[in-house]
Amino acid sequence: MVPLEHVIGLSALLFVIGVAGVAIRRNLIVVLMSIELMLNAVNLAFVGFNRLWPGTAEAPRLDGQVFVLMVITVAAAEVAVGLGIVISMFRNRDSVNLEDVSLLKW
């Protein structure tokens, strides 16, 4: 069995990559993808920790995996709405560059 530290490390790494993507990329779609990546990293951590504490035969604990499912649900909803926003934004701005939607400022 893999030492769990590595699993968590992997999840941290993926999370960081996702954050970097959000921070660096201007392409709204890629930014959304990076957010997905972050969510996945968190899921990985969930699953890993659930593997670490699986409970007992009579009282198994699947909280981690259940939460992963919930996160996936939320991610799906988020993507649906996010992409809807992307489409309407493209319709209005004719671009998906984040810097083209900086009207709301001082």
Partner: protein, 676 residues
């Protein structure tokens, strides 16, 4: 100690009626039918009177003694803390002989006055729902008064205390469209506040003292039981204060409570609101400002008799205040021309009597006079109300006169009332006043109080007879137009008058003093009221006066009263021109009396104006407008706005990723903190 649920209904009936009226006024658009309103209100009050009689019946079945008390604990009203610091005020009622007397007086007089009001307010069309509003307030007042007298703990008593104050305010300013009435209401309310504040402080002091003594209790019985613990307790105060540095808690508490009583019962120096309270409808003056509410102070002093009995200084204060008030008010009453004003000042002076008695330890005498006074003063007020109605809201004695022929019934009952208060032997006022005079003999500070009381008796007879003669005898001084329309009032008004007249005559025999019991009827079981109240009130030994002395005192009182009455009759009817001449000669004194010793003006100059000035110039202009509004509220807003406009706004670049950046920095900082 017997549990019974009748008490809560005595209190609840008027409350329910009031709530009904309130909802009807608030929620129903058109004003409800007057007959229904009258039926509900009077029904509620009469119902609680009947229940009071039932309660009395229950009570007398218990053998007399300290355990002769009915209890009705509804629920815990306020509860806080645990064991040694437990503060708990029950929503509980107790009926002991003292409160029995009170609720009987209150509910009986109240019922009569409710009935009376139905007719009195009938022609009041100034406001669409005024009728119902009036009875709403009236029922609310009955509720508060009953709570006050039935409360089994001092906190609940304070609730009733404030409730009656509120209702008095509402009813004085009932015709609020007239600015003067509203002003009078506010005055009464504010002056009462002063007293209530002292009362509240007294409650706090008493409770803290009891808590220190290890028995944090609020109910009267428990306080009386635990009272021994704080008898010696003292209160540390700055040394430069008189009698410093340590004041006996008992005295302080007693004085605080008495200041509250001064506010509520119109004693020096807080009596100024009562004469103005006559701005309200006459039934209100009769019920609240003569019969019931203003006697709450007396009731409270008697309820806490154990406290006052242990506080000689406070008792002396009570006695002297009472005596002075009685005399002062009587002198003022002499020169008044407004019929209700005269009665108001006479009320003040009679209340002074009661406090005089209470201060001297004659608690039962005070209660006795309270009861009799309730009857005949209510009678007088209602009679004056009848006169006012007959005269079409004319209150000036100088425009009355010769009403005897025009309204004979009113004249008859009014005469009874005058005789009773003037102390005509055999009538109620005679006995109770006599009792008080007897107590006054061994007041603290020598015979002075006795002489003052005696003089007051004479003055009382004088101004009452003057009032009566001016109103009913001689030739009518009303304008012809008015004179045609003068008519006898209806039966709905007269019957309560007759009822009250009847009780003004006989109620004196309830508390027939020992002396007269022996002399007139040879029964040695007289002073039944005193013995009835005995277990509740702390008995102060008034030495023993032999019958001769008592007879002498009574005779002198009658003589003084007769003199006063005769003088009044002579001055008003035989030589009507004399008073003006007297007034001319003793101009200063007369002016002084007419203007009520300029007390209002003095207060105005000393207290009101400075207060208003400070409130306006300092508190409003500087503190509120300048400091709070200007600096704190608007200043904050302005500061934030400036900050945002010149600095913070640039943080909002509109670039989502900049925001993300800030988020990330925060997250990174957090991670770093957690990782370190």
């Amino acid at each position: 100690m017997t549990e019974t649920h009748v008490l809560r209904w005595i209190v609840l009936l008027p409350l329910l009626a009031a709530i009904y009226h309130g909802l009807a006024i608030g929620l129903v658009r058109r004003s409800s039918d007057r007959r229904l309103v009258a039926l509900i209100s009077c029904g509620a009050v009469i119902g609680s009177f009947v229940l009071s009689c039932v309660a009395l019946g229950k009570l007398v079945q218990i053998p007399r003694g300290p355990s002769r008390v009915l209890l009705d604990d509804v629920y815990t009203w306020i509860g806080a803390g645990v064991s040694s610091t437990r503060f708990s005020a029950e929503m509980g009622f107790q009926l002991d002989p003292l409160s029995t007397v009170m609720i009987l007086v209150v509910t009986f007089v109240g019922s009569l006055i409710h009935v009376y009001s139905v007719a009195y307010m009938e022609d009041d069309q100034r406001e669409d729902k005024g009728f119902q509003r009036f009875f709403c307030y009236l029922n609310l007042f009955m509720f508060s008064m009953l709570v006050l007298v039935l409360a089994d703990n001092i906190v609940l008593m304070f609730l009733g205390w404030e409730g009656v104050g509120l209702c008095s305010y509402l009813l004085i300013g009932f015709w609020y469209t007239d600015r003067h009435n509203a002003f009078c209401g506010s005055k009464a309310f504010i002056v009462n506040r002063i007293g209530d504040f002292a009362f509240l402080v007294g409650i706090f002091l008493l409770f803290s003292a009891l808590a220190d003594a290890g028995s944090p209790v609020t109910s009267f019985r428990e306080i009386a039981a635990a009272f021994g613990g704080i008898r010696e307790a003292t209160l540390a105060v700055p040394a430069w204060l008189p009698f410093g540095p340590e004041w006996p808690v008992v005295e302080v508490v007693a004085i605080c409570f008495f200041i509250g009583a001064c506010g509520k019962s119109a004693q020096l120096p807080l009596y100024v609101w009562l004469p103005d309270a006559m701005a309200g409808p006459t039934p209100v003056s009769a019920l609240i400002h003569a019969a019931t509410m203003v006697t709450a102070g007396v009731y409270m002093v008697c309820r806490l008799s154990f406290l006052y009995a242990a506080a000689p200084a406070a008792s002396a204060l009570v006695a002297w205040t009472g005596g002075l008030t009685a005399l002062l008010a009587a002198t003022i009453a002499i020169a008044q021309t407004d019929i209700k004003k005269v009665l108001a000042y006479s009320t003040v002076s009679q209340l002074g009597y009661m406090f005089l008695a209470a201060g001297c330890g004659g608690y039962s005498a005070a209660i006795f006079h309270l009861g009799t006074h309730a009857f005949f003063k209510a009678l007088l007020f209602l009679g004056s109300g009848a006169v006012i109605l007959a005269m079409h809201h004319e209150q000036d004695l100088r425009r009355m006169g010769g009403l005897k022929r025009l309204i004979p019934h009113t004249h008859r009952v009014f005469l009874v009332g005058v005789a009773a208060i003037a102390g005509l032997p055999g009538l109620s006022g005679f006995f109770s006043k006599d009792e008080i005079l007897v107590w006054a003999t061994h007041a603290p500070g020598g015979p002075w109080l006795y002489w003052m009381a005696l003089g007051t008796a004479g003055l009382t007879a004088f101004y009452m007879v003057r009032l009566h003669c001016l109103a009913f005898y001689g030739e009518c001084r009303a304008t012809p137009s008015v004179r045609e329309q003068i008519h006898e009032v209806g039966p709905v008004i007269l019957w309560p008058l007759y009822g009250l007249a009847f009780f003004s005559i006989i109620s004196g025999y309830v508390g027939l003093p020992q002396l007269w019991g022996d002399l007139l009827f040879g029964i040695d079981e007289s002073d039944s009221l005193g013995r009835f109240l005995g277990p509740v009130l702390t008995r102060v030994d008034k030495g023993h006066l032999d019958h001769a002395t008592e007879l002498g005192m009574a005779g002198s009182a009658v003589a003084v009263a007769a003199a006063g009455a005769a003088l009044a009759w002579w001055l008003t009817l035989r030589r009507p021109e004399l008073p003006d001449r007297i007034a001319a000669t003793f101009k200063g004194a007369y002016e002084l009396l007419v203007n009520k010793y300029y007390v209002d003006e003095i207060y105005d100059a000393l207290i009101v104006r400075p207060l208003v000035a400070v409130s306006d110039r300092v508190l409003f202009r500087v503190v509120d407008a300048g400091l709070v509004d200007g600096v704190m509220v608007n200043g904050t807003a302005r500061g934030v706005r400036a900050l945002a406009a010149h600095g913070l706004k640039y943080a909002q670049s509109g670039l989502a990723q900049t925001y993300v950046f800030f988020m990330i920095v925060g997250a990174a900082a957090l991670v770093g903190y957690l990782v370190r």
